[in-house]
Structure formats: C-alpha cells, structure tokens
C-alpha cells in the first residue's frame, strides 16, 4: 500500500492563478513528520517545509501555505499567485519515528505554470 499518495500527476495553470497540490498519507505511527520538496529541472531536492504530527497549525510562508488535516490524513500545499519559476515537480514525503527517519515519497506532482 502506498504510504504517500499524490493523485495529481500533472497540473497546468496560468501565471497568477492559485494552485493546490494534494497529498494523502498513511501511517500507523502517532509520531511522524510530513514534508514537501520541490524538484526543479536541474534535479536537486529543495526542502520547503516540515510538519510534525502534533502540530496541526497551518503554515504560511510568502506565497506558499500548507494545510495539515490529521482527520483526513492530508497535507496539502497551496501556491498563491503562481509564477513561472514555480514550475517543478513537487514531492510530499512521510517520515515515521520508528523507521529510522526513512522517507516515503509520493510519486510527485508536476506543476507547469504558463506565462
């Protein structure tokens, strides 16, 4: 079974539109971390956010915001007023306490922002 599901394979938006990337996770642990990473065409993984399982506060960082809902096991990522530079593949990931911090990555969502 998939531990992290990103159902949206690819999304295309026009610049300045808002876009939400969905992430649903599965774990039996009560203590875990959730992450979002951005992977631009150059290939590196750029850390965006970490959220632990005890902190359900939503977070906003500039144009980025994250909505963590334990009740639905979701950790969605919204980009407000998207820009062409936001074009990348975005990965959601789960790390469980009793798994030596091993990451489970989703399959990624490719975001295309057109001018």
């Amino acid at each position: 079974a998939q531990k992290v599901t990103q159902a949206q394979t690819e999304i295309s938006v026009v610049e300045k539109e808002d876009v939400t990337l969905d992430c649903v996770y599965e774990t039996r642990d009560t203590t875990y971390y959730l992450f979002w990473y951005k992977q631009p065409p150059s290939g590196e993984l750029v850390f965006l956010i970490r959220r632990n399982s005890f902190d359900e506060q939503n977070e906003i960082s500039g144009r980025y915001s994250w909505n963590f809902q334990k009740s639905t096991s979701s950790f969605n990522f919204t980009i407000t007023a998207s820009q062409v530079v936001d074009s990348a593949v975005y990965f959601c990931a789960l790390s469980e306490l009793y798994n030596f911090n091993k990451f489970y990555f989703g399959s990624g969502t490719k975001l295309n922002v057109k001018p």
């Binding site: 290939g43 990451f103 399959s107």
Partner: protein, 114 residues
C-alpha cells in the same frame, strides 16, 4: 547553513563496471541514507546507516550494492557490475539525531549506464 555534498554530479559508466558515489554528510550528523530516483519516477529509499552499520535496507538494495563510511566523513555507495537499469539520480541524506531533525539531501549524482 551546512550542506550535504555529493560527488560527482554526473557519472557515466559502462555497463558491468563498478561505480562509487560519494557523499559528505553534515559533520555532526549520525544517520545516513541513500535514495534513488529513476528518471520521471518517485524517490525511493535504498538504505539507512547508523553507528557504522546498515540499519535498514530496501528490496532494491541487493548484493550489488554496498555502503561504507571509510574515514568518518565520507559516506559512499558502491554499485558493482552496473546494469542499464541502475541509471538514475542517487541522493544522499543525513539526519542529526533520532527524529529530531529533517533529513538534509545532497544535490544528487546522476548516474548514466551505457
């Protein structure tokens, strides 16, 4: 901010050859990892390493693979007798302690097997 560094950034190797991918984790980190990403696919866990031994490995990490921390600073992934399907991006990561810090990823080594 300290970084995980990986060398080389791109490695091209003939099928059947051995390849060593190198990583320098963040200096005070204790946990080390290798992940693999085949082009266009998700990032997959290969192996975790703690206290000079493998703590966990995936089914991908078979006898063809080995890891080593030879000198207290480098963390290497060796792939013996490479196959075409080993072509992928390989990411190294390190973590400072047990569940108290996020993993820091290197920029990856793109391995191309010809």
């Amino acid at each position: 901010e300290p970084e995980v560094t990986q060398t080389p950034s791109h490695q091209v190797t003939q099928m059947g050859q051995e390849v060593i991918l190198r990583c320098v984790p963040i200096s005070n980190h204790l946990y080390f990892y290798w992940y693999r990403q085949i082009l266009g696919q998700k990032v997959e866990f290969l192996v975790s390493f703690y206290n000079n031994e493998i703590s966990e490995k995936s089914e991908i990490f078979d006898d063809q693979f080995s890891v080593e921390r030879p000198d207290g600073s480098n963390f290497t992934l060796k792939i013996r007798s490479t196959k075409l399907e080993d072509s992928a991006m390989y990411f190294c990561a390190s973590a400072g302690g047990f569940f108290n810090q996020p993993q820091h990823f290197g920029d990856g080594t793109r391995l191309s097997i010809l």
